[in-house]
């Protein structure tokens, strides 16, 4: 089904109106900036209700199959909705892991039963998903994950710990990478991938305080926790391949996500506005040539991302290195956010040293907080250094480090 520009415009108008009318009012407490920052129950319930409302309005999972709760419509429509959500700065879709990588993974390689069981709850936010990849001793070196899943008849017994588990306190399910076989030829062979229930005996979730002073992620302890073998996705011992497929969805290198945005990114327009009010020697900072130059650079960078995404759809303009743009979007976007937030602090003069809670803090200290939180994306989902390795090796064909 292909839609005319006019139909798309009509649709956009409807979407715009719906979000204008339905976007939630300021709840009176600070909202998280991404699924990695959901720290309190009030934040969580607020966001979950919002996702459900968007889904029930028909604006989430639009291109996912109808039989699993999606709407079976063209992706172009979902893209319009997602853009509009970003434009209107409505709160993000909190079941991010489910919507953006666990869900696409299940749709892609899950059994019929798994699709039926999990997809509808992902969309409605009824079932929150978390991710059990990183361990205290193995983060970037994910293939070395050691959490044990020991077969016992048609069950597996889980022992060990996962860490930095975002949404862990609220999750009903987890995507879990665990070791089902010891002493294999290489570290990847013994891994298996599971879709597991979180609320079973033997699983304990302990919150960890973030650099901002708030809560967001957790450590998850497994002590003789028993799961059914039907929790496997992919074959036993082939968990690494499943994990790689998951990461491709997570980093946006492959499409198929349910839509909706996952993060409250700051935009350069906000920094420009800041430069218009901040002062330098009694004049608006935006009159300072060095500041103007930096701002222009950020504007160009923000456009680069938009234009990269536009160009990535034109095959002839990606002939040399077809995966270059999709594989680098996470790196480019997260590093941009970090640097831009840092620059925003530098515009605030001495008062940049205030933090959330002080009434002299610029815009209630939002920039300080978003600067700190910007590291969630430069570290989570594979650090920027690891992204450099991946791009160097897979896109440029450089030898492994």
């Amino acid at each position: 089904m292909s839609l005319t520009t006019q139909e798309l415009d009509e649709f956009r108008k409807g979407v715009r109106a719906w979000f204008e009318e339905n976007k939630p009012a300021d709840p009176g407490f600070l909202l998280p900036l991404s699924f990695m920052e959901v720290g309190t129950d009030e934040q969580f319930y607020f966001l979950r209700d919002w996702q459900r409302k968007v889904y029930e309005a028909g604006y989430l999972g639009m291109a996912w199959p109808k039989e699993y709760g999606g709407h079976g419509k063209p992706q172009a429509l979902q893209d319009i909705v997602t853009r509009e959500m970003i434009r209107q700065k409505v709160p993000f879709m909190t079941n991010t892991i489910g919507l953006n990588w666990a869900g696409p993974l299940i749709l892609n390689m899950g059994s019929e039963e798994q699709k039926k069981a999990y997809i509808p709850g992902i969309l409605s936010a009824e079932d929150i998903w978390c991710q059990g990849f990183s361990e205290p001793d193995h983060g970037s070196d994910l293939g070395n994950a050691q959490l044990k899943a020991t077969r016992d008849g048609n069950e597996f017994v889980l022992n060990g710990s996962k860490i930095w588990t975002s949404l862990g306190r609220h999750a009903k399910y987890m995507i879990l990478l665990a070791r089902t076989k010891q002493n294999t030829n290489n570290k990847y062979e013994g891994l298996s991938f599971f879709l597991i229930p979180m609320r079973i005996p033997g699983i304990e979730v302990v919150p960890i305080r973030k650099l901002t002073g708030e809560y967001g992620f957790n450590q998850t302890f497994f002590t003789d926790a028993r799961i059914s073998e039907s929790c496997l996705i992919g074959k036993e011992g082939e968990g690494w391949q499943v994990a790689m497929a998951t990461l491709a969805f997570e980093r946006g290198a492959v499409g198929g996500q349910a839509g909706g945005h996952a993060m409250m990114s700051r935009e350069v327009a906000e920094v420009v506005a800041l430069a218009q009010t901040a002062q330098r020697a009694g004049r608006p900072a935006i009159e300072d040539p060095t500041i103007r130059d930096r701002l222009v650079q950020f504007i160009m960078e923000e456009r680069s991302m938009m234009l990269n995404s536009a160009r990535s759809k034109i095959k002839a303009l990606n002939a040399d290195r077809p995966f270059s743009i999709p594989m680098s979007s996470k790196l480019v976007g997260s590093e941009y956010q970090r640097r831009m937030n840092q620059f925003a602090l530098s515009l605030q003069g001495a008062n940049a040293a205030y933090y959330v809670g002080d009434d002299l803090a610029y815009e209630r200290g939002q920039w300080q907080r978003s600067y700190f939180n910007s590291f969630s994306a430069t570290i989570g989902g594979g650090t920027s250094e690891i992204q450099h390795n991946i791009i160097g090796e897979r896109v440029l064909g450089l030898p492994k480090s």
């Binding site: 420009v272 938009m306 234009l307 990269n308």
Partner: protein, 376 residues
């Protein structure tokens, strides 16, 4: 203030796709790296046989309307040729000839257009003489002069960076006439009366000349429409930036290949040096800079000439492509170690090309300054 939220789309036509494809193979076949080196030593300004092929492919008339023998496309299509040529460090009068045609289209009299545009489409070589010894990027800063003397214009002053002038069939020269910018057409005969001195330029794949106008005079009929000249100069300036950005993107891609090839084959400490992150990560950064610049380039090509948006896009493409080739070619020298310091290493060819592309028609900081004034 710019609407930073506006959805930007890149238009890429079937013609562009075909041209990019053909030009990519053409450049690869005709301009292998040893050719670039041979050209540096060659007596001729450029390879005539290749030039004739380019003319017969119709490339010189791409942005010329059909009524003058061109194919009636635009600079967006020219970009798809300039980029692969840049990638292979081709040295041809393609860009200058294209710009001369653009100047004629914007300000030429109808007689001048009738006479010259069809010739250009068939392979006449155009030289553009719009830069002066002061090196100012402001093209309206003119010290070269034309003075009326009866039916002729007496020219004086000096123009610099006039590429391929010794082979040119015509040149378009900027001068001030009555205190205002003017463009004058010099045919081969007039060029013959001027003094042409070969310049020693950093990019040795280019043949650049200093054009000394003292004592040259041309019929008044060789004056382009002076009322249209300011606009024509700014159009040519913008077109030059766009095509330099295309060459720079091509060059960046070419030099990344050079780096990667070395990093995959050179061993130190019993390991391929490409396995060292001190080399790998900056090489990835060069790639990211290329991808960004290239996205801006094709966007700018699509909106070229479209008012303020076109100008913003063009300046961004020029700024980012300048920085991209500077970084990639600079690192290329460093990553070749001692070999990088030699004349034999291709890294220097790209670095030299890079500097040329960066500093002609405004460097990155210059364009960012212009952007700030446009945006804020």
């Amino acid at each position: 203030m710019l609407d930073t939220n506006k959805k930007l789309t890149i238009t890429f036509s079937e013609e562009q796709e075909q041209l990019l494809d053909i030009a990519t193979s053409f450049a690869r076949d005709k301009f292998p790296m040893d050719k670039a080196r041979a050209r540096i030593a060659a007596a001729e300004d450029f390879d005539r046989a290749i030039w004739s092929e380019m003319a017969s492919l119709g490339w010189l008339g791409i942005a010329v309307p059909e009524e003058f023998g061109g194919s009636g496309l635009g600079l967006a299509e020219v970009v798809t040729i300039a980029e692969p040529l840049g990638r292979n460090l081709a040295g041809t009068p393609f860009v200058s000839t294209t710009l001369v045609a653009q100047a004629l289209l914007k300000a030429g009299t109808s007689a001048q257009k009738q006479e010259w545009l069809p010739k250009i489409c068939e392979g006449a070589i155009g030289a553009l003489a719009i830069v002066e010894p002061h090196g100012d990027w402001n093209l309206a800063h003119l010290e070269a002069k034309a003075t009326e003397a009866g039916d002729t214009l007496a020219l004086s002053g000096t123009k610099t960076f006039v590429t391929d002038a010794a082979s040119a069939d015509l040149a378009i020269v900027s001068v001030s006439l009555g205190g205002k910018p003017a463009l004058v057409l010099l045919d081969k005969a007039a060029l013959g009366k001027a003094v042409l001195e070969r310049e020693t330029v950093i990019d040795e794949t280019r043949r650049s000349y200093r054009l000394k106008l003292d004592g040259v005079s041309v019929p008044k009929a060789n004056l382009l429409d002076q009322a249209a000249t300011v606009a024509a100069l700014s159009h040519v300036d913008a077109a030059a930036c766009l095509l330099l950005a295309a060459e720079a993107c091509g060059g960046t891609s070419g030099v990344i290949d050079v780096i990667v090839e070395y990093l995959k084959t050179r061993k130190q400490f019993d390991r391929y040096i490409g396995s060292y992150q001190a080399l790998k990560h900056p090489t990835v950064d060069a790639l990211l800079a290329l991808e960004a610049a290239r996205s801006h380039l094709y966007y700018a090509a699509g909106v070229f000439g479209q008012g303020e948006e076109g100008e913003i896009a063009m300046r961004m493409a020029k700024a980012l492509s300048s920085d991209a080739i500077a970084f990639a070619s600079d690192r290329a020298i460093q990553f070749h170690g001692g070999f990088g310091f030699t004349y034999d290493c291709d890294a220097q060819l790209f670095r030299r090309r890079g500097v040329w592309c960066e500093v002609q028609h405004g460097d990155a900081a210059y364009h960012r300054r212009k952007l700030a004034d446009l945006i804020f």
